[in-house]
Symmetry: C2
Subunit: 434 residues, 2 copies
Amino acid sequence: MAILIHNCTALLMDGAGTVLENAFVAVDGAKIVSVGTGRPAGPFDQEIDGRGGVLMPGLVNCHTHVPMTLLRGYGDGHDLQDWLNNYIFPKEDRLDARAVRAGAALGLAEMIASGTTTIADMYYFCDGIAQECVAAGVNLNLARGTTVFTSGFDFETYPACVELRELTDRWHGYNGGQVLVDASIHGEYTSGPALWESVAAYAREKGLGMHVHVSETRSEQAACLERWGKTPIQVLDQYGVWDVRAIAAHCVWTTPEDWALMARKGISAIHNPASNLKLGSGVAPVPAMQKAGVNVALGTDGVSSNNSHDMFEAVKLAAILHNGVQHDPLAVLAPDAVRMATVNGAKALGRKSGQIAPGYDADLILVDFSRVNLIPCHDVYSNLAYAAHGSDVTMNMARGRVIYKDGDFLTIDIERVRREVAGYAVPLLFGAQQ
Amino acid sequence: MAILIHNCTALLMDGAGTVLENAFVAVDGAKIVSVGTGRPAGPFDQEIDGRGGVLMPGLVNCHTHVPMTLLRGYGDGHDLQDWLNNYIFPKEDRLDARAVRAGAALGLAEMIASGTTTIADMYYFCDGIAQECVAAGVNLNLARGTTVFTSGFDFETYPACVELRELTDRWHGYNGGQVLVDASIHGEYTSGPALWESVAAYAREKGLGMHVHVSETRSEQAACLERWGKTPIQVLDQYGVWDVRAIAAHCVWTTPEDWALMARKGISAIHNPASNLKLGSGVAPVPAMQKAGVNVALGTDGVSSNNSHDMFEAVKLAAILHNGVQHDPLAVLAPDAVRMATVNGAKALGRKSGQIAPGYDADLILVDFSRVNLIPCHDVYSNLAYAAHGSDVTMNMARGRVIYKDGDFLTIDIERVRREVAGYAVPLLFGAQQ
């Protein structure tokens, strides 16, 4: 399918920060094939009028747990341990594959409508998540978060690791790379060296990425230091966990030594500002990590701790939060924050996307710059980072397929999803009273 | 005009935190006349179907400079003094009354579409701001920020004070209180005791409120302490500035002694989280102020330092920011943040609004809880504070007048505003090149 998007302002996200006026961007199949200011030779199966809009790479949400959309706002207002133990875990215990799919589809709808084209998800019931992403058209880095709380771990027979191998066989590289499987260690505090070593070896063998929660809370960090005399980044490094493309979610309590190691090894730090603030985890040292050469990308985390999948909100938080806490209006600038959600996110997930250039994945969104909240426009980056909302997205294209346009979901049967959530998933978790 | 809003979920914002299901709210003229679960006796000139929606008090934006909407994003990415001196001030010098009206109307459109019904504005060219608010239907606390940089100040002849008296005569109490005039001292650092004393005396004499910038930046605070040996709150108190209903914008660097004085005198602290973060000013001590008994309300500040007028964003920031920087997930809870934007804001501005109850101003908004980003709903406050966006507002009623519905502006000719901004105001400020 060949599609031409014409007469838009295109934010290329190339190294020069080019903003191309009166741009024509042509797509063939899943790829961008040309970018310029003149009309390219056709024919095109579809043309999209981009007038008044800014075309930019689709947003990359590098850390989420999309089925948790079912738990949006549940148990808010309780202390973290109370929230997890008495609200989240008991409900997660009741989940089944059908409910997970319903929650995933609902979360994906919210993401698509607010401009996300690619996600990195860590959860369980992973087949259902992959099926929903494939159906919705969204790019997925799929991770089955593994935990081990017992002794006698054996990679060959341990259920989560059996699942990792099955998922890898079934999904890794699916549909030209729409789905990539990342190996995953849930966190240092929920497993031990036997798991780390074997999962890391498997990732190296299969060419998978790695997705790990790292240094989210102060108490997690302190316990790790007490246990190992090292930070999570450093102790996991000993077992080869970072020898593949890797994303470390949160990194709130990481140290200068960690940043040096992360930069050297190419570990991406995934900043989840809303979740870290809401849960009282703290503020990740984003400017310092960037200065140390770490690739910083953005995530929403699960919406039970956010409670939104709107990546424009994450961009704004990343753009303003660090200025505020460091008393430095230049700590993070608008283009930095937009890069985190596009170029840096694509790099973190091992994807040729996040830019508008020939040969890149055709993951593209149109943002309606004629909305009252985006007038006037003195600077495109500034309006995107500080003034745009997910609701300003009027078109979402992932891998060359238009999946959302002018409020309509083109790949998700949203009424069916509503029925599944309200009629099946919520009653399953909360009983008939809800 | 009698209007009935029926079959909604009504968030009353009463002391008990009532969420009334299947609610019927009746409005007559500018006031709410009945609230209940049964259909009240009519007749009604208009009925609004509230199914799937949450009806709540309109949001109160307690600190803004609405004409600065023209400067959205201009000069971002520069240090504060550079930004003010080389970007903002030179452009403000070029403003005229027509451009101010265009900027005000544009900002009001953004505010209305995102659920704001009442604003406290501090700027100049105040007549135009009042005219635009009256036309748009928005409630206004109007303040002419006064500065004095010369000696020999005389209240009777000083232009800004002449203007204050004229504005008071013309606008204070206009249309049953739609417009209230607040006296205003721009800040401690931009004037001196002669102004403070005379403006405070005038406010007492006329029963006006008071609107002042207080302790926004560390350097402002340090200079005040050096000049007076006291904080801005304390030095202004000596001159009677706080002897009327008063709002102190920012309060980032206020002290425990300030909070005690603010609580005793009833000075409301206006928290502008986005602006304070973006400009690197810091994080206001909101939980501590609330614990000390200070009424804390919310503002966006001008959009040149935000860059958005979406009060839902301010609510979310207030709800998550303090948890994060204090490492306490309970520092601010969802209902606290919603109260700041409604009940507390109304109190700060001396208005009988911010609640849904008979006798209160009919300032009401409907939030569409059927949107994918608000599903499921386990808690109304939680979804409003963390998950809702201004774009989820489908109806805005101010003083009993529906001013926005389903994307349509009913009081603002938005195409005329676009033409005025693009055709007159922006060229006036930026020349023909823009």
